[in-house]
Symmetry: C2
Subunit: 335 residues, 2 copies
DNA sequence: CTGAAAGCGCTAACAG
DNA sequence: CTGTTAGCGCTTTCAG
């Protein structure tokens, strides 16, 4: 029941381990005949390569680390699928870590991946993250780093982001076109670029419509269902808005809950558009209009960028924009 | 920009690498003073242990592999969180692989994990899986294996499962109690124990109610939304049932869609209960009654079982039952 | 309490 | 086309 190694194959065939290693790697410098004998014997003995040993020797591994805030978010789990779809056929393995939207878990995840000598790290920042020493360390160690969605532009390397600006612009414009006049915005953590861009897209649409830009229409850091639910009450009490564009579907859901409780007619008296097109959006009553992000494609692009980084050698700083599209449902109709 | 190793620390302190290794491991056989000097110097130099090298030497790693059909299923992503909650504090890392409900991807995942010398594998079988050579290989190699949810009882090792039987029993009984007479069952792949048990729980409730057990009420392998949608048409055409207990929420959702299209009143004319309590269950209209599985706790238990396997040494075969509960919503009321 | 030495399994110069 | 040799970074006997 001993583990069988290339040495065992070598002995059985009276060749050296180097030859076996080369043969297994498909190196054409060893004769086709030998290559086949080696492969045959390997199968016969039930040989399984020890990638740990190979990684140690090569100082590199074919494992890519992926850090996401949480795997049970529709968006992130689809990104994961997208990443896998590219990475697996290319011979890379994926290790997934969760930061739980928590900076210290994020740091620990980075550290763990580095200690495991991963070949590269793909990550989306936690909302909490404000300091970036852990990312700088990755760069300093020359480990390829690809950021997606929630990124920090100051860190070198490839980045893959949604066209948040356009999505927000379209969503807001749509509400205005449907006849809503005073569109509020439930923003996310604006220190994160994704949320800042949604904010800007919203602003742009409002300015184009010559809306009197009221700071009182902007509510920062409203991303959870609870926050959405609480904030919509304040909006209704103040009476300053008749619609809201939310930077996320969860706060939109909370807002819809709150509106229902207060007996406000949606759509009609109040319009709501979210962002992310979570699976629950189409199931709600009224169904929630939302901006769909192409999570799967983001995953594809991030993985492709990672492979390029690894194989390219040098660090390239470039941002890829993934298009989004507005999905109009009931919550934002004119009536 | 060289990587710093224990040798560097050893040189800087004029001790040997062995001492550094022991000191870092907290071995009390080295003096407290030396231990502190080593740790201090390690910090100063920015030392990061190379777990790859340690794993190679020890022939074991602190990485646990987790194989799930897909991460973007509510149930599985919650299991992941539950597993992480136990594993991380215990000093283990988690590698997550997706089988995509596909036997060959599942086999490849197992192989990859073995090649990476993981310390153990936690998995839930893909629906497709009918042959188990890959699991036997894991056992043969003496790698701890913990199965959860979709398990094969013939493979040795710990198993963590839902109380599927009771859940199905309660769901079916509830429908009967609400006045539905002829309850159909949309079963899953009955070769999988989880689905077989749900089937048996259903049977038991039907028998207790002295229902004329009609084979025509049982529909095998109906787990997707599409299958549920298609099958409910046949049920309605046949007119043999006035309610259905589905082995999963997706088929229940499909059934609900189909019933709505046909203008059948739910609840009232037809009752529906699902299984899994997916997030969409409470949002549907009518909201879907379902059996909630405690995914998070399953994850906890599976992780704890894994640690026990690793630390215990010998293979213990034992099944842990995780309780479930029926959540009654609109779709199964009497009217 | 610390050191010396060997080796986990594999790869990659360098030779021939 | 194949062999020799050295070593990736760490842990662990065995000595002392």
């Amino acid at each position: 029941m001993k583990k069988i190694t290339i040495n065992d194959i070598a002995k059985a065939l009276s060749v050296t381990p180097s030859t076996v290693s080369r043969a297994l790697a498909g190196n054409t410098r060893v004769s086709l005949k030998t290559r086949n004998r080696v492969k045959e014997k390997a199968r016969e003995l039930g040989y399984q390569p020890n990638v740990i040993a190979a990684s140690l020797r090569k100082g590199k591994s074919d494992t890519i680390g992926l850090i996401v805030p949480r795997v049970n978010r529709h968006f992130f789990s689809n990104v994961i699928s997208g990443v896998e779809e590219i990475l697996n056929p290319a011979g890379y393995n994926l290790v997934i870590c969760q930061s739980g939207e928590n900076i210290s878990k994020e740091k620990k995840a980075v550290e763990t991946l580095l200690r495991n000598q991963v070949g590269g790290i793909i990550l989306s920042l936690s909302v909490q993250t404000q300091s970036f020493a852990h990312l700088e360390e990755v760069v300093r160690r020359q480990i390829p780093l690809v950021q997606f969605d929630r990124i920090n532009s100051d860190i070198p390397g490839y980045k893959v982001i949604n066209d948040n600006y356009t999505g927000a612009y379209l969503a807001t414009k749509h509400l205005l076109k449907e006849g809503y006049k005073r569109v509020a915005h439930f923003a996310g953590e604006r220190k994160l670029k994704a949320y800042q861009e949604r904010y800007e897209g919203y602003l742009k649409a409002m300015q184009e419509a010559n809306c009197d830009l009221d700071e009182g229409l902007i509510f920062d850091n409203v991303i959870t269902r609870e926050a959405g639910h609480g904030t919509i009450q304040r909006v209704l009490d103040g009476g300053q808005a008749d619609a809201v564009f939310c930077a996320g579907d969860y706060s939109a859901r909370g807002a819809l809950d709150g509106l229902k409780e207060r007996g406000v007619q949606v759509p009609g008296d109040f319009g709501v558009v979210g962002f992310a097109n979570e699976p629950f959006a189409e199931l709600m009553y009224p169904s929630l209009s939302s901006v769909e992000q192409n999570a799967f494609e983001m995953g594809n692009k991030a993985a492709a960028a990672m492979i390029k980084s690894i194989e390219g050698g040098e660090v390239v700083t470039e941002e890829f924009l993934v298009p989004v599209r507005l999905i109009v449902r009931q919550s934002s109709k004119s009536e």
